[in-house]
């Protein structure tokens, strides 16, 4: 709870220094100290609890809550067993007074569709040349672990997004169902609406394993027999592919859709990651069974899940994050976060040094929630709306000679059509193709057009523009707009469009769309515009904005620091010695080596497996 003197000094220092210039424009050590200081300040001021009547978890009923993760995330925190569980509320990174959801007319000022058309629509694909498409899929894979608002409110009157003049939107009218708020309780008087996270908020692999016991049973079921697998493994088809569910986890029919803990917004690259980590789970089970030949399938399953989840967290921290911050400092320091600044080798050889996280990294240090119980936040979801990473088409090529098999639009590689891709292209070639393609850059005018006109082929044939929805959702859920948001994270607040971005065309377009009102610029738009602001915006080498970065350093560390299985109970006694070693010794690279060994020549030379792989013949 309480801050050390060093913390307080760093916090004050960060604030003072930021008034002169942003952290990334100071020399390295000053910048790092400022980042740490910003995090201290945000841990104090940017964590707001919204829970007034938390869910009541059922009693553990003999389940070993100390040594295993429950399906719904309850009992991770033994003092507040509801913390982070399925159905708990999203918290906030902003003061509550600034988080009242916008309502018409404000909700439509300016029209989210206008923003989509004029500022977001992709004109020409802008790639990130130094990343591959697995990096884009990875973050969606993680988001599906962390959060979802679930189904929208079908009872409520839909939002009616005004169409700009001359817009020929399919139905002549753009209606969007509101997000379903949590029912209000007595303690909510005076407070904004709160929403619930239908996934566990923990970093527990729930995208693979589901966030309820029922879902977990489903993914553990053998598709051949329809029975729960007794060996502790996940169900897979004979050809190694994921089982078919034929509907989404919210129950909507979707022919040939694969089964996963979370199978929403499914596309080929997401399917690949799910398949890899289902296989990884099964490999962990095989390894644990060697040491525990008599253990039950249930025990093996739960221990393997614990290990697999920690491995994914490690991959995210030491491989994905540094790939997205392609700067020398970023890499060094972020590897430090998981293993500690003393480095992986040191921690391996000598164990932890004291309990401070700066020296030895977070995993294994004592659990702490700082100023609010652990929860995902609305603002975190907002800064992770990274849809511009997605390309509009993918070229599938053979790993043997890089020759093209087929080139497909995004819609042809999504939902149930993922299976058609696998029918035409062998799995290894699919993975190779993703490893050798680039994601889109997080800049204005780069939102995939396929996602700007999504057809949800349910009975009513619903169409929607995800770019407009991204804008609408942030406003609806009371995420402050860009300037208000920056004001609350000690970041420079632009007072003109010239300060927001250096690109004169963007300045002009933004000014037009927002009627000259800089304070009205939406959060998402601001983060994409700041990609071209040398002074205040995206730090050099970063794949995402400084605005998002502030929320990441606060929340990412919480995902580790609040979780008992990454802190107090990150130890061999809980993970089993073999399981603990598995986390230490593995990475996405070894996962790929294990399950796609034939591709080793292609990713073997990549310094980071999220960087583009070597093409055949190159």
């Amino acid at each position: 709870m309480s801050e050390s003197l060093l913390d307080r000094l760093l916090g004050r220092f960060a604030r003072a220094a930021a008034r002169i210039r942003a952290w990334h424009r100071w020399p390295y050590f000053v910048g790092v100290a400022m980042i740490v200081g910003h995090r201290v300040n945000m841990r104090r001021e940017n964590l707001t609890d919204t829970e007034v009547s938390p869910p009541r978890p059922p009693p553990p009923d003999g389940f070993d809550v100390r040594g295993m993760r429950t399906a719904d995330g309850s009992y991770n925190d033994l003092a507040k067993p509801w913390m982070g569980m399925t159905g708990a509320r999203f918290g906030r990174n902003m003061p509550l007074a600034e988080t009242f959801g916008e309502r018409p007319p404000r909700l439509y000022e300016p029209s989210p569709r206008l923003v989509s058309n004029r500022l977001l629509a992709r004109r020409q694909f802008v790639p990130v040349p130094h990343l591959n498409l697995l990096a884009a899929a990875w973050i969606q894979f993680m988001v599906h672990d962390w959060l979802s608002h679930g189904s929208n409110d079908k009872e409520a009157k839909p939002w009616d997004v005004p169409l700009p003049e001359g817009d020929r939107w399919i139905d002549g009218r753009m209606t969007v169902l509101p997000t379903d708020p949590d029912p209000r309780h007595p303690g909510d008087e005076g407070r904004p609406d709160a929403y619930t996270n239908v996934e566990t908020s923990w970093w527990d692999g729930s995208q693979v394993y589901g966030s309820t016991r029922e879902r977990q049973v489903l993914v553990r079921t053998d598709p051949a027999t329809g029975k729960l697998r007794e060996d502790g493994k996940l169900g897979l088809r004979e050809n190694g592919a994921l089982p078919l569910e034929h509907r989404t986890l919210r129950g909507k029919p979707s022919p040939r859709l694969e089964l996963a803990g979370v199978n929403g917004n499914w596309w080929i690259a997401l399917s690949v990651l799910h398949r890899l980590f289902a296989h990884e789970h099964n490999a962990i089970v095989d390894r644990l069974r060697i040491d525990f030949p008599d253990a039950s399938g249930e025990w093996l399953f739960q221990k393997a899940r614990l290990v697999n989840a920690a491995l994914m967290a490690k991959i995210h921290t030491v491989e994905w994050t540094p790939a997205l911050m392609n700067s020398h400092e970023g890499r060094t320091v972020m590897r430090g976060n998981f293993w500690g600044i003393m480095g992986e080798t040191f921690t391996h050889a000598y164990g932890r040094i004291g309990s401070g996280e700066i020296l030895s990294g977070i995993p294994g240090s004592p659990q702490a929630h700082h100023s609010a119980p652990y929860a995902m936040t609305e603002e975190f979801a907002a800064v992770y709306r990274l849809h511009s990473l997605i390309p509009d088409e993918i070229s599938f090529r053979r790993h043997t000679d890089d020759s093209e098999v087929v080139r497909l639009d995004l819609t042809k590689v999504a939902g149930g059509e993922v299976c058609d891709v696998y029918d035409a292209v062998p799995f290894d070639d699919v993975v190779y193709s993703l490893g050798t393609s680039n994601p889109g850059a997080l800049v204005l005018h780069n939102f995939p057009n396929a996602l700007r006109q999504l057809d949800r082929l349910d009975s009513q044939g619903v169409h929607f523009d995800l770019a407009a929805i991204d804008i609408l959702r942030d406003r609806e859920r009371g995420v402050p707009r860009y300037c208000a948001f920056r004001r609350r994270i000690d970041a420079h607040v632009p007072s003109s469009f010239e300060e927001l971005t250096d690109d004169p065309d963007w300045q002009r377009e933004l000014r037009e769309v927002y009627n000259g009102r800089i304070e009205d610029v939406d959060l998402l738009v601001g983060t994409l515009a700041e990609a071209k602001s040398a002074k205040y915006g995206t730090p050099p080498g970063f794949g995402f904005s400084d605005t998002a970065f502030r929320i990441f350093i606060l929340m990412a560390s919480r995902r580790l620091k609040s979780d008992r299985f990454f802190t107090d109970d990150f130890r061999p006694e809980i993970y089993t010695p073999a399981g603990f070693a598995w986390v230490q010794e593995n990475s996405l690279r070894t996962v790929l080596e294990r399950h796609c060994g034939a591709l080793r020549p292609h990713f073997g030379d990549a310094r980071n497996v999220f960087f583009p792989w070597t093409r055949a013949g190159a």
């Binding site: 609890d49 009242f100 407070r191």
Partner: protein, 292 residues
Amino acid sequence: MVRTIRVPLLVDLLVAEEPDAIQALAAEARLDRGVPARAPLVNRMIAHRVADVLQVEGRPLPSVAPRDAPGRAAARDALETRLDARRIDQAHLDALAAYVVGRGDRPVGPLVQETIGRLFVAEFRATDETWQAARLLDQAARTLNPIRRLVWAFTGRVNDARRLLARRFAGDPAALHAVAIAVHTLVASFQRMRGLAARSGGVPRHPPAEAASICLAAPPRVLRYATAPGADAHATFRAGTLVLLGLEAARARTLAHDVAFLTATWSRCPAHAWVPALLEAVWQRAAETAQP
């Protein structure tokens, strides 16, 4: 977080500004309002000052009366019932709305005082005199400045102020609390409203309930004494420890009405529903008048 300031024999304070800690301490049976039998020097000074100022004919105003003071709870409940039935007359609503949109010609202090006073005495008229009396009582209850207190004691100004207001309300301690002490919290709320309305897009941008919630002010701190030593999850206290509940800081963080009014406790403000309803009605009216 709970802060402690403790110097043996001199002072022993607990300051709570976290909603959880406040709720727990407000429910704590060993904490009460009133004057402690034994306490360090500064604690005693504060207790006596508050008790001296916030009384009428020797009876403590309800907001500082001990939990079991005779008739307190019953009077509180009766007042709450009465307030719930009370609507604001159109003239005051209009005047407050005019103030909020920056057009009013009446100073906000007396205007709010009159609005509250009429809940108790139908024809009450606030004047500059009654408003200055309210300000003086409020200051006197807060200040530790010995020179000011000496001057006041010498000139008898505080007693005069109290007498002036008491006369208008037939010595009703609840009314006196309302027009002399609570009035300042409400004035602060309307000042915030005026600020909100003045910001770009102002009035139409916020629905009434939201504006009311953002602008509601809570008492900066309310006082309790420990009648016996004890501890809870948040704090340890001894007999005589002075506990300051920083309601406004906690409200600002959570916007929770139940923190601002201590709704879920024995000392629940009887105006806990009336005040938000008034703020909403005024904002609504302001929105109507702001229409072109």
